[in-house]
Amino acid sequence: MKNDKNTSGRREFLCTTGKALAGLGVIAGGGCLPGLVGAATASFPTPDYDWTKHRWAYGIDATKCIGCLRCVEACKAENNVSADAHHFRTWVERYVYLEGEDRARVDSHADPQNIAASGSESEYRFDNRYKDAKVTKAFFVPKMCNHCTHPACVHVCPVGATFRAEDGVVLIDHDYCIGCRYCVQACPYGARFFLEEEGVSDKCTWCYHRITKGLQPACVEVCPTKARIFGDLNDSSSPVSEFIRDNPVQVLKPESGNGPMCFYVGIDKDVS
């Protein structure tokens, strides 16, 4: 019958087409497979460093910091940051409680008074302004980018110039950044700044060019008192894993929801 013939003809056509497509699919899949396997084993970003194998974190023991600021100068040298008092990838704050006062007096080496004491905007010292005062408690707190797990800066970047790498480091693509400075606004910790000469935003990168070569960040390398600790959380015997395990640690501004990865020991109520 006419209908049957049409139907069977249509069915035959669909079957043949279906088989052909399935066949093509297998070939295509087989063709892709080597590519996929290849991609899975290629080490990224460098042949010697696979970012999927590391989970970096940072520790700061504020009870050990002596405020020598070697870290600040080393970072500037290592990363070519402007040698002035307004662009810092890392800095140190001093908290001093005077007798009879409940709130700490805070200053950093970028303070004009401390700059005057050091005599230069590119060499950093803390002055001794409290030497004749009655001090009840005083300590130093190093600060830097916290390489958050939910970074506010990455969230607000309009183009995707700043991002969180697979090994936990928050990085900036200087060739893609348009210099809008939204990220500088969004960081609750004041860790980001704008490089006027280059027209892009910048911040601490945990010396990515060093840690991918098995070295430590410059600030950790030069700290004379082991106040700065860095390491791989995937390695339970790394300095930072031990630091976190052996101490009650805290983070800055936990209420921000950013999930920072710099863990502090020895800071107190007025540290923000």
Binding site: P158, A161, I178, G190
Partner: protein, 389 residues
């Protein structure tokens, strides 16, 4: 030459250079004028309020000429303006700034389309009545069509209505997202507020109405035509109503912040009672809002008319324009003058010359009006001809 912000108390070292300066104050001011002028135009084109007919087409041209200048403060501010299109090539959808690219492009096209439809018939007539270069220009603008049949006009009307309706949320989205950028930023307490997009929006509408009032009076004087008092009265009523609501919103946002008294409120209070006091309470709220509301209330209650009304309305409009500019300044600059440490205050140094300076900002605010003048010559929006040429 980067300007360093002096400070008191403790601020993070990186905060001593203020990232968003006067250009970022000008930018929401301009988009606010765009949204506000469009709103005035929609009073007639959407809501059919006849008293706004004299300014309706002019309001569209105002919106367009300011809109064409809106990207300039941003481009001038960017570290790499040549990469600005990255936000549309690879827009990061979690970022409010990325959404701007699409809102702005969409609204720009919509506005141009609406202007095109509104002026189409006039342009066809002008094309037919002119020669040479002018004729070529108007022919091109009308897309080489001279169809002014009832059929075409009916379609014009329908499409215009759709565009105008879609344009309202579009224009408000364009400006509202700016409020959202500030309101959603948890790093700065002065900015973080759920009310911020609404505040920006209503103060934008208010600035647009005020601008149109000033421009309408000015252009009428220049063209030596009588001012339609029903129109001016309509604008004044609109200004009065929207301004009251805006003041309530702003006062609410501030009251909320003080009442909640979160960490860092000490520094906010020190700032508001100190460096910000004159700019905020005296100028913005006092002279910029409460005074115009009072004057307009008196004029409305006592049914003031004629020259007194004209003077009163114009002065109120000028005060409101100052209010809105100050509001943008107090939000953008003010927020950055309160340090993220919650322990210090900075002072924004406004340079006189340079990329981000008083001079560059002034030029950018005035430039759209030069363009507006040109557009009104090319596409006269007036319903009535001028008394003298």
């Amino acid at each position: 030459m980067t300007e360093i912000a002096p400070f008191t108390g403790y601020v993070y070292p990186n905060e001593t250079i203020i990232p968003w300066g006067v250009l970022i104050v000008i930018y929401p001011y301009l988009t606010g004028l765009v949204a506000g002028a469009f709103t005035v135009s929609s009073f007639y084109h959407v809501f059919g309020m006849q008293q706004f007919k004299p300014v309706a087409r002019f309001a569209l041209l105002t919106s367009l000429s300011v809109m064409l200048f809106v990207p300039t403060p941003l481009l001038l501010h960017l570290g790499h303006a040549e990469r600005a299109m990255n936000s549309m090539i690879t827009p990061h959808l979690t970022s409010a700034f990325a959404m701007f690219g699409f809102f702005a492009a969409f609204y720009m096209v919509l506005l141009i389309l609406e202007c095109w439809f509104v002026f189409r018939v006039d342009n066809v007539v002008r094309a037919q009545n002119s020669t040479g270069l002018a004729r070529a220009f108007y022919r091109a603008v009308t897309l080489w069509s001279d169809d002014v049949s009832p059929n075409a006009r009916a379609i014009d009307g329908k499409l215009l209505l759709i565009l105008a309706i879609v344009g309202i949320p579009s224009a408000h989205g364009l400006h509202g997202y700016i409020g959202f950028v500030y309101g959603s930023l948890k790093a700065r307490q002065w900015w973080e507020s759920d009310l911020m997009p609404v505040i920006f929006l209503f103060s934008a509408i208010v600035s647009g109405i005020a601008l149109l009032m000033v421009l309408y009076v000015l252009t009428s004087k220049l063209r030596r035509v009588p001012i339609d008092h029903a129109c001016l009265k309509g604008l004044t009523f609109a200004l009065w109503g929207f301004l009251m609501f805006t003041v309530i919103l702003e006062a609410l946002a501030f009251a909320n912040q003080v009442y909640k008294g979160r960490e860092g409120i000490d520094m906010v209070m020190e700032y508001v009672q100190g460096p910000l006091f004159v700019r905020y309470f005296v100028l913005q709220f006092g002279f910029g809002a409460l005074l115009p509301i009072t004057v307009m209330s008196i004029m409305i209650a006592r049914n003031v008319r004629g020259r007194a009304f004209l003077a009163g309305a114009t002065i109120c409009a000028l005060l409101v324009l100052m209010n809105v500019l100050l509001m943008r300044w107090n939000v953008v600059i003010g927020g950055q003058e309160i340090a993220k440490t919650g322990k210090g205050l900075l002072t924004y140094p406004l340079p006189l010359w340079g990329r981000e300076s008083l001079v560059s900002a002034s030029i950018l605010v005035m430039a759209p009006f030069a363009l507006l003048w040109l557009l009104t010559r090319l596409f006269p929006p007036w319903a009535d001809p001028p008394r003298s040429t």
